[in-house]
Symmetry: C2
Subunit: 223 residues, 2 copies
Amino acid sequence: MGQNRATGQAGRGTVVRGIRQALAAGDMAPGQRLVEQELADTFHATRSSVREALQELAADGLVELIPRRGARVRVISVEDAVLITECRAVLEGLCARRAAERATEKDRTVLRDIGTAMEDAVDRGELETYSALNRRLHELVARVSGQTVAESLLDRLNGQMVRYQFRLALRPGRPTQSLPQHRAIIDAILAGDPAAAERAARAHLDSVIEQLRATPGPSPHLT
Amino acid sequence: MGQNRATGQAGRGTVVRGIRQALAAGDMAPGQRLVEQELADTFHATRSSVREALQELAADGLVELIPRRGARVRVISVEDAVLITECRAVLEGLCARRAAERATEKDRTVLRDIGTAMEDAVDRGELETYSALNRRLHELVARVSGQTVAESLLDRLNGQMVRYQFRLALRPGRPTQSLPQHRAIIDAILAGDPAAAERAARAHLDSVIEQLRATPGPSPHLT
DNA sequence: GTCGATGAAATTGTTGACAATATCTCCGAT
DNA sequence: ATCGGAGATATTGTCAACAATTTCATCGAC
């Protein structure tokens, strides 16, 4: 691994992954300007690759593309985050409902395991683990539901929320609040009760919205 | 309007619009291969513009992009259409709910007008008019709801459904079936009853799903 | 007659140079 | 000191030629 520039479609993938990661890690501030040549240098790709990567990220709503003025990391206000989460609420509600109808024995076992693992993690105060299980749970529900369209929409929406998600998960007392909500979703799916599963998923995300509303706006731009 | 090649971003826009329209008009069959040079010629644009346009359309799910093998018009199976409509159901449910909470006097007036215009159109058997009003209604509800995120998701999903939508609207007896459902949505919003509005929107789209399921698969490829 | 290989044609992917535009810097006028 | 404008620089957008790959047609062997 050295000086070789990743070229072509490989390069594009590299840049997309790189920017995604930098965004998730908080290495790129919202509103920050993204200069094509700089990106090309840091990721050892060509400007063409960077250009295409930016378009892809713009389509996913992670980056804002202004003609003749380049790309910026998209700024997502608290209000935006709320609107996004409202969509997540109904879409995850749909997924939970269908998951309750369709979960196989195998799925149920995995679900049960995630449930107990979550309780353990919260007991032991392992926030990182809990957060990871959280993601796994939401992903599993979407996958089990067979709602591939909803799943991809949720993917997109979640991508836009990275900044807020890690902010929320670290809130003191948050796990104690969300754990029973996750339990309720799991239990409803295990019980094969679609209506309850949908209600539980929505209730969970409504609570996320409440938390978001109590969030101070994202650190005023250090342009 | 002559021999001038639309160049650059203008060209890209031209191509995107052109393909979108051709798709809506049924001039491009699903699965049809889209060759860059051909498109560049027919829309009088450069191959670069075409390339970018295809990426944009791919991000919107209208076109399938396979590396090294070019672009094809995306084939949307009946099952896909059902999954899409299930998402639409919950998203439009959300919009209807919020619209019921937020509609201003002005909005209500427009809504009422659309309602009566719909009834007139059905009475007179003006299918085209009814179909246009249908679109306007769904758009208005989304806009009034203030759910900009849901609105853009719905835009994307609707774009993928063009083929099926016109197929459904022409079904005999369909207007008689959908008119009261539209009325129910409008009335619930006018009454300021969020829960009823959401139920009505969902019920309407559940009925669309039923119709879709009773649809013969999209005409077996005339590749 | 079918299958596979070989070469030709068509098509997509990549690159680097160039053009157009925006942004910044510096300077002078008020 | 502030504002505005001219030039310089930085940055994005465009293009056409070239490279790589796939697809298609032709031909020969079994």
